[in-house]
Chain length 242, copies 2
DNA sequence: CGTGCGATTGAGTTGGTTCAAGGCCAGTGG
DNA sequence: CCACTGGCCTTGAACCAACTCAATCGCACG
């Protein structure tokens, strides 16, 4: 059991992400911090949100990884997006929201419910920005699946994860804890596990990445990004209120 | 508030769609109708929204087809979603929205700006529902690209378009005007135009569809949907306020 | 009666899949 | 302390869905 050195299990990563997205006043921060203290835990493969059931609460990941997934009848599975600390689940703003996809945990996860904008109007803006960013990542996922080849898909995805881990302060030196199995990567990239494996080998052989005992490090992420024509999805200034 | 079905170029299709998504009071309907009268037109291949530029206004398609697209440096193109009458462009709800993708017209298009929720709070709910539905279609697009084969992708997409055309009253007898080229379908489904062609032939040979002189008709859409395991994305009751 | 865009068809190629067999290693129980 | 699991990763070889390249067709339009 590896314990992260920078940030203990106190929800700081999650709050850090939100405070990067919008200006939170002291009130907002302390309400959120209070929320992270009422945390819950879930094992891998737990369902945090059930597809096409009404959404009762807004959740936030504090620690661990989860995914929005959809299953086809014949067992094929597609992961729409990965959820990291600070990501919101069930972040809707209309009357009777229904979950458009299932959310399952991929690792042990700590999460909590966060107050709605009715309780604290200051949160309205962060939630809206977070929704917009989620959408941007969905668009990125669409281009990955539609127009990138296997090597580009994997590279682009790993770089996206680096970008997001940096945003919540969980990446150090282009490197972060990486709990995903190759099967999960396959369900995310629309490939088979076998082919994901071959692509990882390729990136390793080129020293683009080091992936060992649950940790992923990049040799030169900027160079790699240039090679697959990737530009960052979240440039903080674009999203913050001016 | 349901508007009649045979619809000339007066924006009724667009308003019909919105009124299916939420309860609009008379005020809202008349404000929207007024907005549709200040319409603008654009030729095919016009850019209605430029990627990564600030969004100034909220637009609504009145007639014709458009698409949210992204171009890669080497010329590859991916269409994220298609926009039909009643679909909103730049429908964001946070402080400084930036377009996450380009929007281009695919045909001659009539569109207009619609009032923000600041101008008319009753619109808040429709806009939120519309955003949620857009997201549901993005998720559908992700599963299509990630886990369906060529035949399933095309079938599923065409059925989705039928569903949406019905929602705005532009489909009669499982049949509607269909202006997309095979190249556009290819950019939407992540295939090549040549292969899209072969899949269309396949569906024709089986009498699943008739596609001729700009009109698409289905033999038995329900059966077809069952065959590719498709269930409707928008079931109206799920989205309406109770 | 060209002219040009889009649809169609054929033939060869390939990126990614499938199937199947090991290999590695952390955890468990004797 | 070691043997025995069970997950997950790795590798090889055959196969096939979709791509590429290239030619032809059809039709709407000036």
């Amino acid at each position: 059991m590896r314990v992260n050195v920078q940030i203990p299990h106190d929800g700081a990563a999650a709050i850090r992400r939100l405070s990067m997205l919008a200006d939170l006043d002291e009130m907002a921060v302390s309400v959120l911090q209070a929320a992270t203290r009422r945390r819950r835990t879930a094992e891998p493969r737990a369902e945090l949100l059930h597809e096409s059931r009404p959404i009762r609460e807004r959740l936030m990941i504090l620690r661990g990884w989860a995914a929005r997934t959809r299953m086809l009848e014949d067992g094929r599975r597609q992961i729409m997006s990965l959820l990291l600390p600070g990501d919101l689940i069930g972040n809707y703003d209309h009357g009777s929201p229904v979950a458009a996809s299932m959310v399952t945990t991929l690792t042990d996860v700590e999460y909590c419910t966060v107050p709605g904008p009715d309780d604290l109007p200051q949160l309205e803006e962060v939630y809206a920005v977070s929704r917009a960013i989620d959408e941007a990542y969905l668009l990125a996922q669409i281009t990955r699946l539609g127009r990138l080849n296997a090597e580009e898909r994997l590279t682009d995805l790993l770089l996206e994860l680096l970008e997001r881990m940096e945003l919540c302060g969980l990446a150090v030196d282009d490197s972060f804890d990486f709990p995903l199995t190759q099967e999960i990567l396959a369900d995310m990239t629309g490939l088979t596990p076998v082919h994901v494996n071959r692509m990882i080998q390729l990136l390793r052989r080129r020293d683009d990445i080091v992936l060992k005992s649950g940790r992923l490090s990049f040799g030169n992420p900027a160079l790699l990004a240039a090679r697959v024509g990737r530009s960052p999805v979240v440039v903080t200034e674009n999203w913050r209120q001016r």
